[in-house]
C-alpha cells in the first residue's frame, strides 16, 4: 500500500469516523448536562429572538471594544474566511466533498483559492505571534491552542506545497496533505476547533438568557 493509498483509504476512514463519532459524543455529553428551567418571570418573552440576536451580534466586536481588539479580530476573520474559501471553493476540494457526500457546487478559479491560501497562512502566523507575544493570550494558552494551530496550519501549507504550477499535483505531497487534513479531522472533536459549532450554542444560550431579562450583554 502506497502512502497515497493509505491516506485515501484506511486513514481517511479512521479520521472521518473519529471526527463524526467524537463530535457527536461531545455534543451529546454537553446536551446531557442538567439544564434547570429558569422560573423567573421574563421581562420579555424573547428567548428565540434573543438567541439569534446573541449569535449574530457577536460576529463583530461590541462597539466599545473595537479599537482594543479590532486588529486581532481582523486577523481572525482573515484566516476564517481564507479557510472557508480554500475548503469550500477550491475545485479539488469540492470534488472530494462530492465524492464523500454526493453534493457539489461551482468552484472559484484556482488562483483565487491559492491567494486565499497565502492570506490564510499569513494570518495564521500573525495570530500565532499575537498568542506568543501578548501577555494575556500567553498566560491563557494551553497545549490545545498550539496544537490546534498546528493542525490548521499544516493542511494549508501542505496543500499549497502540493500544487506544482509546472507539473500539476505531486502524489507524494497530496498524500502528506491528505494525512494532515486527517490529523485535523481527528483532533477536531477534542480541542478548541469545536468552537466552529459551539460558538453558536454558547452565544445562543447567553442571548436567550439575557433577552428574557430585557438586557443585551
Amino acid at each position: 500500500m502506497t502512502l497515497l493509498e493509505l491516506a485515501r483509504g484506511p486513514a481517511l476512514t479512521v479520521a472521518l469516523t473519529v471526527f463524526v463519532a467524537g463530535t457527536l459524543w461531545r455534543i451529546v455529553r454537553l446536551a446531557s448536562r442538567p439544564a434547570p428551567r429558569d422560573l423567573s418571570v421574563p421581562r420579555v418573552d424573547a428567548a428565540v429572538t434573543g438567541a439569534l440576536h446573541g449569535i449574530v451580534r457577536r460576529f463583530w466586536p461590541h462597539p466599545r471594544f473595537g479599537a482594543k481588539i479590532g486588529f486581532s479580530v481582523f486577523i481572525g476573520y482573515l484566516y476564517h474566511i481564507g479557510l472557508a474559501v480554500i475548503v469550500f471553493a477550491y475545485l479539488p476540494h469540492i470534488a472530494f466533498i462530492r465524492k464523500l457526500i454526493g453534493i457539489g457546487w461551482p468552484a472559484l478559479p484556482a488562483p483565487v483559492t491559492y491567494f486565499a491560501g497565502g492570506v490564510t497562512m499569513f494570518a495564521l502566523i500573525i495570530a500565532l505571534m499575537l498568542r506568543l507575544t501578548d501577555p494575556v493570550k500567553r498566560l491563557l494558552s494551553r497545549f490545545d491552542d498550539y496544537f490546534s494551530w498546528i493542525v490548521v496550519f499544516l493542511p494549508v501549507a501542505t496543500g499549497m506545497a502540493a500544487f506544482d504550477t509546472a507539473t500539476g499535483f505531486s502524489h507524494g505531497y497530496i498524500a502528506v496533505h491528505l494525512l494532515t487534513v486527517e490529523l485535523l479531522l481527528v483532533w477536531f472533536p477534542f480541542g478548541k476547533l469545536m468552537h466552529a459549532g459551539l460558538a453558536f450554542w454558547s452565544r445562543g444560550i447567553t442571548g436567550a438568557k439575557y433577552a428574557r431579562r430585557g438586557a443585551l450583554p
Binding site: W25, R26, R29, L30, A31, R33, P34, A35, P36, D38, L39, S40, V41, R43, V44, G54, R58, P61, H62, R64, F65, K68, I69, S72, V73, G76, D134, P135, V136, K137, R138, L139, L140, S141, R142, F143, D145, F190, K192, M194, H195, L198, A199, W201, S202, R203, G204, I205, T206, G207, K209, Y210, R213, G214, A215, L216, P217
Partner: protein, 425 residues
Amino acid sequence: MSVESNRPGPERAAAAMKAFVRDFTREAAVHMDACIRCGYCAEACHFYTSTLDPKYTPINKLEPFLHAYRRTTAPWAPLARLLGTERPVTISELESWQELVYDACTMCGRCTLVCPMGIDIAALIGRARHGMFAAGLVPEDLRAAAERAETEMSPLGATPKVLKERLEWLVDEHDIEVPLDLPQADVLVTLSSIEIMKYPGSLVALARVLAHVGESWTISTKGYEATNFGMLSGNRDWQRDISERVIAAAIACKAKTVVLPECGHAYGALRWEGANVHGAPLPFAVLHISEYLASLVGSGRLRLKPLNKSLSFHDPCQVSRRGGASRAPRKVLAALGVELRELGDHADAAWCCGGGGGVVAVKRADALRRGAFRIKMEEIDAAGAELLATSCANCRLTFDDGQQFHKWDKAMGSLLELVAERLEA
C-alpha cells in the same frame, strides 16, 4: 474562622470539587467548552485595565473551576483522567485563586459584552464561589458578613431590633410614616442594610415618595433585608434562606409587588434568582426601586418639580447590564428634567464602580478596588455634570470610599433621594 476551613486540605479540596460538579450545568459546560482563550475579556475588566496584570483576565479567574470541569465532567474527562492531563484540583491551587475569585471579580458581567463566544463569566464566577465556600476559602470579612446575614438577618448588624429603633428615630426626626408589619399591603418594601446603617436618608426618601403616591405598603421585620451576602459569599443555603425570608414576608402580607431598594445584587438575587431558589414562580412582581419609580412616572402618579441641572448616572451592573433595567432610571431622570450627561460607557456597557460582588466588603482588596475606581473618576470628570446619581447603595458606598481616598471633588447621590427632594406638593 469557618468550620469549612478547619478541615484537612484534601477534604476541603474534595468538598470544593463536589460543589463544582453540582454547578456544571449545561450552560456552564457549553460556556467552558466554547472558550477559545482569545483573552478579549481582559479588555472589559476594570481590574485588568487598571493594573495590566494578565492574572486579572476574567476567564483566568476561573482556572481551578475549569480544571475541575475538565477532570470530572467535560466530554473528554475520562480520557483526561486516563492520560493524566488534568491533575486533581488541590487546596493550595484553590487558595492561590481565592484572591481572583473574590477580591478581583465584581461579577459585573462586562466581560460577556466582549466575549465572541458569549460566555457568561460572571455567572461562572458565582458558581465557582460555591466550591470555594465549601472549601472554607471565602475571605473572612465577606464570610462573616454573610454569616451575620444568615443568623441576624443583616450583614451589617441591622437586626430587626436595630431596624425598629432606626425607623422610630427617622419617623420622629423627619415627620414621616412607616407602616411596619401590616397584615396586608399591596407593596412590600425591602431595604439594604447599607441604607439602614449609612444612608438613612434613603429610607426617609422612600417613605416620602410612597406617601406622595398614596401607596398601600409595609415593611416586614421578618423579611426586610434585600441584600444577599449568602449569594455573594457562595453559600447556596444561606442565599436561599435570605431570599425565602423576603418571599415569605411578601406572601404573608399578600403583597402584589416587592420593591427592592437601591441595591444592585439584591435585584439579581430576587428578581432573577428568587424563583429559582424558591423552586416555583414567585406569586408577586419584583421591581427595583428605579423600575418602581419609572412605573409611577409612567402612570402619572409621581409628580415632580423640574431639576434644572446636569447629571451623570452610574448604572449598577446587576440592574442594568445583567438585569435589563437600564431604561428605568433614565425615564425617571427625564421626568426630573435633568440634562443627562451620559458617561463614556453607560447602560449595558457601563464600567463597574469596583465594589460589587462583595468586593467592597473585602478589606484586603481595597488597594485593587481603589485603583480600578480611577476609571470611573476619569469618565465622570470627562462628562462634567453638576450632579451624580446612582440607584445602588453599594455603588454609593464604593464612590464615597473612592472620593475620600482619592480626595476627589465629586459626590455620588441617590436617584431615590433626588426624586424625594423634587416631589410636587
